[in-house]
Amino acid sequence: MTAAHLSEQVVKDKLIEFIRETFLSGDPDRELDEGTPLLEWGVIDSMRIVVLLAFIRRELSTDIPMTQISGANFRNVRKIAALVVH
């Protein structure tokens, strides 16, 4: 199953919302956007990837193989959304 039925923008919005709520205590200062370097800023780490993959599998009906967990693919929300949609 893929999330081809979802537009890339919808996926980005859902990802941002999830990351804000789950990892950033709601991100009250609205610091996160689709270009934020997630790894460099320490928002995503080895364990949080697992949580994020579970969210993508559950809510976006997309199975990203664990082999795809690279720095390039998870650099920012834009990259992750591209991975989910394509």
Binding site: E40, G42, V43, D45, S46, I49, L53
Partner: protein
Amino acid sequence: MRQAFLWSENSGCATPKGEHVEADFDVAVIGGGPAGSTAASYLASAGLRVAVFESELFPRPHVGESLVPATTPVLTEIGVMNDIDNAGFPKKYGAAWTSAETRDLPRNGFTGLDHSWAAEVMFVERDQPEVDRDYTYHVDRAKFDLILLKHAESRGADVFSGARVLRADFDSDPKLVTLHCRLGPRSVDFTTRMVVDASGRHTVLGRQLKLKVPDPVFNQYAIHTWFEGLDRTKMAVNTGTEDYIHVHFLPIEDSWVWQIPIDDTITSVGVVTQKERFAAAKDDREKFFWDFVSSRPDLREGLQEAKRLREFKTEGDYSYAMKQICGDRFVMVGDAARFVDPIFSSGVSVALNSARLAAKDIIAANKAGDFSRPRFAAFETKLRRAARNWYEFISIYYRLNVLFTAFVQDPRYRLDVLKMLQGDFYDEDEPKALTAMREMVQEVESNPDHLWHPYLGTIRAMNPPSF
């Protein structure tokens, strides 16, 4: 304990001259821990003349206090489950892992980042053959081992307490084994038709026959004690799971802490790490323990509010295998056959299940009147196969423990990982999660851009020793 000698007509051996030479016993079991008691229960119930030689006087403390559900079929089959159920041990419904990850994480950027994580499994999530319940137990091994040993005795085994087996002589008679024992101030010899080595980490036969080989990869070390009044609800990830076994990862490579409920107020706590780290601490056990525990402030705080009940005890010379686990007139069971690592609480389960497998072959060997090595082939094949799987599971866990957590949380693999955590290793070739985990480790090793690459641990054993 009974010390009567029972002689029977049909179990002697003919000498070359045709005279009948009686062995004192059909089977002598070295060690009265869970492996020895279980073997003795099976064998005595089948009508064999069995003796158990236990060097200590029970009850005595012992490490290895958390069971897995794979013990249930064996405890039930030997008929001791009622006694265990009535002993008041805390029920164990699952396992939890906690971490406070602080390694190589940049602190710039967002504030208030909490990088701790946790995972839990419940045994009820997966049905297991021959297991009729959702829980197993955490046990005070002093009490648990005594119940099992008494049970073996009630089934007809002769139990000699305070009897240390010094040597087993296989050579002076091709049909008999002579055990040289120390019983109080005396040296006493007994003869038997075969020997079950259940001597635990003493590995009596492994050492005597020079079959013991240190593990090339694992060289872990444990220091442990009991605390009274540890607030387990504070350590729990969720409400209602405070009596799970907890494995707390330390932000120190290959190091973790076990937390096992012994009763309502007492908790067993142990630090496991690489042996050389302990050597560097210059043998100061107390300082070493607290230094390690303090790498997790939440743990240190909880333990400092509790009261330590026992001296610190250590377990070294940790991981080993045997070139042979059976031979003419002997088999090895439990820790006497192999010990790798306590991470999955497999010790008592391996003891019980290996004893069950061995007893089956021994009973058949007794019927055939032949105790030569080929008679124990089924035991050897099954135990080796199970050992290969659990060894690799443990290796992968240390090599990349994030992978384990990822698999637990992946619905495709969760039950298969749980199967391994239940200790259910004996009846199939390779669990599919194990295959997938192995491939994943190879992928992460070969891809430096993989986000898990920096988390590869130093313990690396993708190919277990061939024996």
